[in-house]
Symmetry: C2
Subunit: 429 residues, 2 copies
């Protein structure tokens, strides 16, 4: 991304490899220009997100550095199961870490088997190559025992991060005992945050954290509803971008920017103003999360003239669909409410996980989608193994499904384009 | 395998596909002859195991059918985390299910992604092709939430098994909360067994079950110690076979046969009588379990003149290393002892799992091994991800490591042979 300010002294201070980091930003800026800025008829409200992306390794990192100077802690995460509410309650800043691009794959494969999913290889690669300013700016990096890949990779990754590291334990089921596992993980996390920040998490500060996170989610739920209009008032790429920035930005500024965007989308809907003509083929994506700058599949889909109108994904409606109830007058009671909420995230790591296909179908119905594209990272066993059932249930609901397995490389772009075009042609039928 | 009795009416009664089953037995019998019966200088005690294998789909199945007729229940499992002790306490018979050969892979891939490990594909294939008399003879099949592959595959598999099915939940860590997950799983399992069998599990019957299972494990521990002698009194293939039959045979008869074999091995050791000359290269295998008839890698290793002197595997010393303490006068207290014991199984699904590399190195040291071969099923993320650390720690202990990833196909046999020969040459140094 391009910057006017010279952030190089800050990046050097953070220990980045400036040469590699320049190369990364060059590629990223080029891709952003090609895929996002070239879109026609974008809402004005996307200007904010363009700015955020142009400063994603610049101003936002400076904000994190400044926050630390002012005595706040910065906590980096890879997963929606790490509760931002607790970080906020401990006067901290919570940020997602770089995991969306092929970078340092060769280095990563010194530690990981080749058949590890691209997301895990990516966060190893970014860290080993010293090009992720987020991880460099963290006081604490938090993993979580979700899939086998991450659970076991964190055993090694802990030695590579330049700062404190902890892993939250996770259950396989939503039983009472599974619940207790997650609750203890959140209690441990709260204690660690208090130790690190010197702040005390109180019922009051936790309620405030819950309200901030809920407001963010409410704004995303509003965006999710509005994008379902026909003609779609916003492209799938732009809506995905908002879902991605969700993990990086200052939460209050983000919420307000999403709501401003939504005000505009409401006007557009009223004016029947869309990014694609009314009746353009409408797609819902379901599956693995797409971290910045993993825009490959959505850009292919929308290049066919189809528009993506919903996202059953952690970086999407799976991640934002439910709010935390702030009933409770003690920290522990509020942590129970966190556990309630986080256990409803229907990630494929849980078994059984019946609500995910239901949710995918519901989004498709609500958005009057013509088809669902199930997107899976290669070697992501939980999502790959859920795919046949999801396909069966969504198709039984009358919505055709295309299953795509891919990674972060660009090698299969033309092959994917052919498959997606054929699918769009079929559902346009 | 060849039989004198005609078991075909029984197999038909069990719903097997006789034609495919004949084909399977033909291949199995041929492989057994080529790999086992052709070995020189075998202990006489292996005669029992040859007999068991010749009747593995015959007499043993008849025993299971007869047991059911006599009012016992038969419980089929895929994993060492399912406690045989409870099955025995409920007057049941516990058997391992077919999962060691490529069979019905195409059928299995209708339900499973191609990059699923061979073991999971195998049990789907055997079930879908109706060639596993064990699963057909079961009252209850029990899965367990170990790896992502199995955890998610069981969601589908439950619909395919011709009998009752349940899944035991498992934790990712050995925390207090993780312990509670496993304990509840075992309590649920006990309740299910009681319901199914009509028997009541009492402290007395559970103690008896514990003693039977412990005796089996004690015999295997004795075998594990004796095979460490130089010259090795038993081949790695034969010792593996005993570890495999562990999961199929009547426990008391099995224990007694292993102890008879061990008596003979003690004499052999005294007489310095080995299956390979003293000083032959000595290998320890560490990694994924090898279910019948997965004999590919051991047969390649021993065809080079090396001898396998230890097995850090579920079907091996990881699975048999610790006993259950029978302290406790209530069923619940005894189940706590089961949980204690099963949580010490250092399967790679746990995080962290530091004792596994330690155990591999310890076996290598005790057996004065020249090298460790780490064996991994392709796409088995937990073991693949532990491999680099295990290699590092075992090599730091002075023992060279070769890492092999493979599946059940025979396509890579010559390539594996080349790699194993080079390794054996190097450690023979």
């Amino acid at each position: 991304m391009s910057n006017e300010t010279d952030y190089r002294p800050m990046w050097a201070e953070l220990g980045l490899d400036l040469e590699k980091h320049d190369a990364l930003l060059g590629v990223l800026g080029q891709a952003y220009g090609d895929l996002f800025l070239s879109q026609g008829n974008r809402p004005d409200g996307m200007g904010y997100f363009d700015f955020v992306m142009s400063e994603v390794h610049g101003l936002r990192i400076k904000e994190l550095v400044d926050a630390r100077t002012a005595g706040k802690i910065v906590v980096g995460t890879f997963c929606v199961f790490v509760p931002e509410e607790l970080v906020l309650a401990a006067n901290g800043v919570c940020v997602g870490l770089c995991a969306g691009a092929d970078f340092g794959t060769e280095q990563a494969e010194r530690f990981l088997p080749r058949n590890t999913c691209a997301l895990i290889k990516s966060f190893f690669g970014f860290t080993l190559e010293k090009v992720c300013p987020y991880i460099a700016a963290c006081d604490l990096v938090v993993g979580e025992n979700t899939c086998d890949g991450k659970k076991k990779a964190y055993e090694t990754f802990g030695d590579l991060v330049p700062n404190d590291f902890m892993v939250l334990d996770m259950p396989n089921t939503r039983s009472d005992e599974g619940r207790a596992v997650l609750k203890q993980a959140y209690l441990d996390f709260a204690a660690r945050l208090e130790r690190l920040s010197g702040a005390t998490i109180t019922a009051e500060s936790l309620k405030a954290g819950i309200e901030t996170a809920n407001a963010k989610r409410r704004a995303m739920q509003r965006l999710a509803r509005l994008r379902q209009a026909d003609p779609a008032p916003i492209s799938g790429l732009d809506a995905l971008l908002a879902n991605q920035v969700f993990f990086y930005d200052d939460p209050e500024r983000f919420t307000s920017s999403v709501n401003t965007l939504c005000d505009e989308l409401e006007q557009r809907i009223e004016q029947q103003k869309g990014v694609a003509p009314k009746g353009a083929p409408r797609i819902v994506i379901s599956g693995c999360p797409m971290a910045v700058p993993n825009w490959k599949l959505p850009s292919i889909i929308e290049s066919t003239g189809a528009v993506i109108v919903g996202e059953e994904s952690c970086i999407g409606e799976r991640g934002t669909q439910n709010l935390v109830a702030d009933m409770g007058d003690t920290v522990e009671a509020l942590i129970d409410r966190l556990v309630d909420r986080y256990l409803t995230i229907d990630c494929a790591v849980f078994t059984p996980n019946p609500t995910r296909p239901e949710h995918a179908l519901q989004i498709a119905k609500d958005a009057r989608a013509d088809g669902v594209i199930h997107y899976c990272l290669q070697f992501c066993s939980p999502y790959q193994l859920e795919a046949p059932r999801l396909e069966r249930e969504v198709e039984a609901g009358g919505v055709p499904v295309l299953r795509i397995d891919t990674d972060y490389s660009q090698e299969d772009v033309e092959q994917l384009r052919t498959r997606v075009e054929a699918f769009v042609e079929q559902i346009r039928g």
